[in-house]
């Protein structure tokens, strides 16, 4: 249901392989995010972790996924949360809960503790665009 690709323990790409229903796809993405971010290879590693999530198959997301994004944003082991292929209603939900702003970055009116971490959230048109930012050359 979800495809998780991890290279060198640093870059993780999570995408729903086949979406037959929004709810099922969101559950799969949520479970994959929890499994990966709480795993030893992230929490016990001394390397920075860059995480890309493909949201392109979803016309909507749910509030529990926003909660998981919040945990990831506050996780010191994660250096970048790239949200890719965001559709209009998903963008509205993400903005409403302060995950991204108009320019696709973290909300600037958040509390200091949250603000310190929000710069790690970036929106990309696609996973490929996100990966390019890691290696602009």
């Amino acid at each position: 249901m979800t495809e998780i690709t991890v290279s060198d323990g640093r870059v993780c790409i999570i995408k729903a392989a086949e979406i037959t229903s929004v709810k099922e796809g969101l559950e799969a993405i949520k479970n994959a995010l929890i499994d990966f971010t709480t795993s030893d290879r992230v929490q016990e590693s001394n390397l920075d972790t860059f995480l890309f999530v493909d949201l392109s198959p979803f016309n909507i997301i749910n509030s529990s996924l926003i909660g998981i994004f919040g945990s990831i944003i506050m996780d010191q082991k994660i250096q970048l949360l790239g949200l890719c292929g965001i559709q209009p209603a998903v963008e509205d939900i993400l903005k409403r809960f302060g995950v991204i702003t108009e320019n696709g970055m973290g909300k600037d009116f958040a509390s200091d503790r949250i603000k310190e971490n929000l710069s790690k959230v970036l929106a990309f048109d696609s996973i490929e665009d996100g990966l390019i930012c890691l290696n602009p050359a």
């Binding site: 229903s21 929004v22 709810k23 016309n59 909507i60 529990s64 998981i68 919040g70 509390s111 929000l118």
Partner: protein, 131 residues
């Protein structure tokens, strides 16, 4: 006018089936505007998730009932669970990102035209303007 009434067990597979059927069989024909369709789909999913997780405490022996009806340019939805109920007070502010939960009801209120609860607090009713 009643559009549908669906009863299903409080299990992920039943919820997935209901949401799929709702989107395919009703939402496409009930609402022309794609933006409003997304909002309704989101709110119905949140309300059903709340009923399953907080109302029925994920007990598969309990059920969820979703009703939809049309009246005077409004589309009404109600979601009933078999839980102990909720006090009906929706938090006045959105939770910060350091909170895992607490966004469901706030966003239901944000996206719908009106929200109300029965006295027991196990039946939520919300409406959307369809014109």
């Amino acid at each position: 006018m009643l559009v549908f009434e669906e009863k299903f067990t409080s299990e992920i597979s039943s919820i997935v089936k209901f949401l799929n059927d709702f989107k395919k069989n009703y939402l496409q024909t009930l609402v022309e505007d794609a933006k409003l369709r997304d909002r309704i789909e989101y709110v119905v999913m949140e309300a059903v998730d709340n009923a399953h997780e907080h109302g029925n405490k994920k007990d598969p022996n309990k059920s969820i009932v979703v009703r939809c009806w049309k009246e005077a340019g409004l589309l009404f939805f109600s979601v009933l669970d078999e839980g102990a109920g909720f006090d009906g007070n929706i938090p006045p502010t959105r939770p910060g990102l350091d909170n895992l939960n607490g966004r469901g009801l706030v966003s239901i209120q944000d996206y719908s035209h009106s929200v109300s609860f029965n006295d027991k607090g196990n039946l939520i009713t919300f409406t959307f303007r369809t014109w």
